[in-house]
Amino acid sequence: MSKLGNIPVQAKSEKKRTNPLARVFDELIQFCQSRSMFMLHYCTGCGAIELPPAMTSRFDMERLGIQPMVTPRQADILLVTGYVSVKTLKRVILTYEQMQSPKYVIGICSCTVNGGMYWQSYATAKVLNEYLPVDVYIAGCMPRPEAVIMGLRRLMSNIENGKGNAWKDYYERYDYYLGNQQHLFGDDWQTPVDVIGEAKFYDLEGEETYGEHTRTLEQHQEPLEAAVMRVKL
């Protein structure tokens, strides 16, 4: 039972850099990151129809610096709009893992919050942040564009004052997320993205990164190493 509202995602490893110049530099970067976000709205459900009005002339998201982007590689925010069926959740997780951090997830519509209208359905995932670390939820059975923009502004303010690092939680508590995913998709669940390798590469591992779920993952998946360019005569 994860507690909503005050989402316990404050990453432990957050430490402010001491000398003032570095801190000013970090503030500046966080300000720029908050002011320029590339949005990948994954139209999983009915909530997606609210985003075009948010982008076009009446509500104009671009003044906030938010641009729609097509591929997860270029995107910063993943907007999961509407109910997430189990089949789609697989693709959402893959897209999330393909995104480059710092990345943020916004769950739009109450179906991502707590099951919403489809709470009875056998096929939909009820609580999104069991599978992905979610930054901001926007409840409403299709929230109006104003609500969406308010959610985005909330995210921008979070980033600005340094609280927008839910993505680290995915690496630090990867075992918890993997467990939930395996619970839903079965034990041989794997994605081509090597999350553990990334955690090692950017040393984002926390205590709970490894657990019994990651061990079951190791049995099935032999991680895909990049083909290193070598000269073997």
């Binding site: 970067i29 320029s36 610096g65 480059q100």
Partner: protein, 299 residues
């Protein structure tokens, strides 16, 4: 136009010209997005938005690369434009414009696209490959009218070095009055060269997931944004030095290049995206005809 006479001045120019190009490029990108917004009755991004985007992209914590050639591709893309910019004379600074003429410059503009093509090739993503094949076809399309225009201009000014051309235009009238048809064809080619909306098939977001940029994350995407700003700058400065007589002083120069850039930008939002073969057909029909008639007058 004092070309560099001492090494120290050259070094200063080497540093200053790309910096200037980058800044002006950013402002042009902003202008592009502002015009887009205004046409759609939107407010449009804040002033420093391009800066925010680039800083955010460069400050990404994680980014993926598909191999050394992928990295080199981006390096060549940005580096190619930095080198091309140095060949472009700017009031007060000529860089090495007289060492290589306009033919060298038109070849320098091909290096970044080929470099990026190699980089995207290694991403092993068919969206990227399709995008590149369309980008090269587009290059084939707009380069022919552009080269005809270059030929006409070089023939008219009897020299291929840009510095010589600017001096000629300062002395006589501007190029646009003496060669109106060539100027029009040049504008057409400029539209293609910008790689913006009517001729933007290779970055079609819906069909091929932004084509070459499909696997570009973090600093790779940042590199492409920098390249885009250089693209705007080079296209506009080249057009001004060919037809609008380059800049005698800074204010006049800035006025001209922003005016030159503004025309294709505003045109670009009135047209849907052309298919590849339609683009080639159009580019080989109208601008080429205009340019050839223009040349007939010049000879």
């Amino acid at each position: 136009m004092a070309s560099f006479n001492s090494i120290s001045e050259l070094l200063a120019q080497l540093l200053f010209m790309p910096m200037l190009a980058f800044l002006l490029g950013l402002v042009m990108v902003l202008m592009y997005r502002k015009i887009a917004a205004r046409l759609q009755r939107r407010i449009g991004p804040p002033f420093f938005q391009p800066v925010y985007d680039i800083v955010k992209l460069y400050s990404k914590d994680t980014q993926i690369s598909h191999g050394l050639i992928h990295d080199i591709g981006i390096v060549v893309a940005v580096g190619g434009y930095v080198a091309a910019v140095i060949l472009l004379p700017v009031p007060g600074m000529d860089g090495i414009a007289d060492k290589g003429g306009i033919i060298t410059l038109s070849y320098f503009l091909m290096i970044p696209s080929l470099g990026m093509a190699l980089g995207v090739g290694q991403c092993a993503n068919p969206n990227g490959s399709i995008g590149i094949s369309r980008a090269l076809t587009a290059m084939l399309a707009y380069d022919i009218p552009f080269i005809i225009v270059v030929f006409g201009v070089a023939l008219h000014y009897q020299s291929t070095s840009l510095v010589g051309m600017i001096d000629y235009q300062q002395a006589h009238q501007w190029g646009i009055f003496e060669m109106p048809l060539l100027a029009a064809a040049g504008l057409f080619a400029l539209q293609g060269m910008m790689g913006k909306h009517p001729f933007e098939i290779y970055v079609a977001p819906a069909e091929i997931a932004t084509g070459p940029m499909v696997e570009m994350s973090g600093k790779f995407m940042g590199g492409l944004f920098v390249m885009q700003s250089f693209q705007f700058y080079v296209a506009s400065v080249l057009y001004t030095s060919l037809f609008l007589g380059g800049g005698a002083n800074w204010f006049e120069f800035l006025l001209k290049i922003f005016f030159v850039v503004e025309i294709p930008m505003s045109i670009s939002f009135l047209f849907p995206r052309y298919r590849t073969e339609d683009m080639v057909r159009i580019m080989w029909k109208w601008p080429v005809m205009l340019a050839l008639i223009g040349i007939a007058f010049v000879i």
